[in-house]
């Protein structure tokens, strides 16, 4: 992977018991990702990009 000079990557394996239990408990109690919210946001952005492109194409066509 990309190297980030000076920044270590935490080791997530072979965790000592207390730390590992805390992390794994936290992970397993976290709700699933809100896919609907992310989809809505992505679709909004994509719509904006498509509209921008449509305007650019229209400008280019009228200039040509």
């Amino acid at each position: 992977m990309a190297e980030f000079e000076g920044f270590g990557k935490p080791v997530m394996t072979n965790l000592p018991r207390e730390l590992g239990n805390s992390i794994i408990r936290r992970i397993l109690s976290t709700p699933r990702l809100d896919y609907a919210k992310l989809k809505e946001e992505a679709e909004k952005i994509e719509k904006q990009m498509l509209e921008l492109r449509r305007q650019e194409d229209a400008q280019r066509n009228s200039a040509g």
Binding site: M1, E3, V11, G20, S22, I27, A42, I45, L52
Partner: protein, 203 residues
């Protein structure tokens, strides 16, 4: 005709090396963010050989209309695990010792970068990363999760407040508690003074 392995209305995604233009196009890849050097260096110097060796899977994202290189991301298998531990199990009147190995399987989003060269030509376009994440990264990982146990998608984020906030607020990644992060960092010392933050989403 569909392009790549996944296609949206604006971008499409394919394996690195699927296009004969990939090797040339990555040479013009740039990232203006502070962590950009490592992300550019990786895709230009290591991604193709890592792909060939099967130690990383890198995907390129291209503009559907212009085929410009928009960004790339890399995925690899990983896990969070505890030390092996012995537990005593009661069986009737006797006890036996079992060795447990607690794990949470996951996929690491090892690299995720948007091409600054592409963005510079479209300064009013914001949120490309969200589209790529939702349309390509998540579907690929979720498809893996249908066949192999994968509980989380995780990243190691550079400890820049703006970056971490973006991963949390926009992409939905969670961060560990402060104490756990501190304890994780201690395991890196003295080799590293600073540590990336482990962040994850539950699939």
């Amino acid at each position: 005709m569909r392009k790549g392995i996944l296609q949206g209305d604006f971008f499409y995604c394919d394996h690195l090396g699927a296009s004969c233009h990939d090797e040339h196009d990555v040479l013009n890849f740039s990232v203006d963010r502070p962590e950009g050097f490592g992300l550019v260096s990786y895709v230009q110097r290591y991604a193709f050989s890592d792909e060939a060796f099967g130690v990383m899977r890198t995907y390129v994202v291209r503009d559907l209309q212009t085929s410009e290189l928009v960004g790339y991301f890399s995925l690899k298998a990983g896990l969070v695990s505890l030390n092996e531990r012995e537990v005593e199990v009661q069986e009737g009147e006797s006890k036996r010792t079992e060795i447990l190995f607690d794990t949470v399987p996951g996929v690491e989003l090892a690299n995720f970068a948007i091409n600054s060269s592409y963005i510079k030509n479209r300064p009013s376009v914001k949120g490309i990363g969200v589209v790529i994440f939702q349309q390509f990264v998540l579907p690929i990982v979720r498809q893996v999760a249908e066949n192999v146990a994968v509980k989380i998608l995780y990243i190691f984020a550079l400890p820049y407040d703006g970056l971490i906030k973006r991963y949390k607020d926009v992409y939905g990644f969670e961060r560990l508690g402060e104490y756990d992060e501190h304890e994780l960092h201690k395991r890196l010392k003295p080799a590293y003074d600073q540590s990336c933050a482990f962040m994850y989403v539950v699939l």
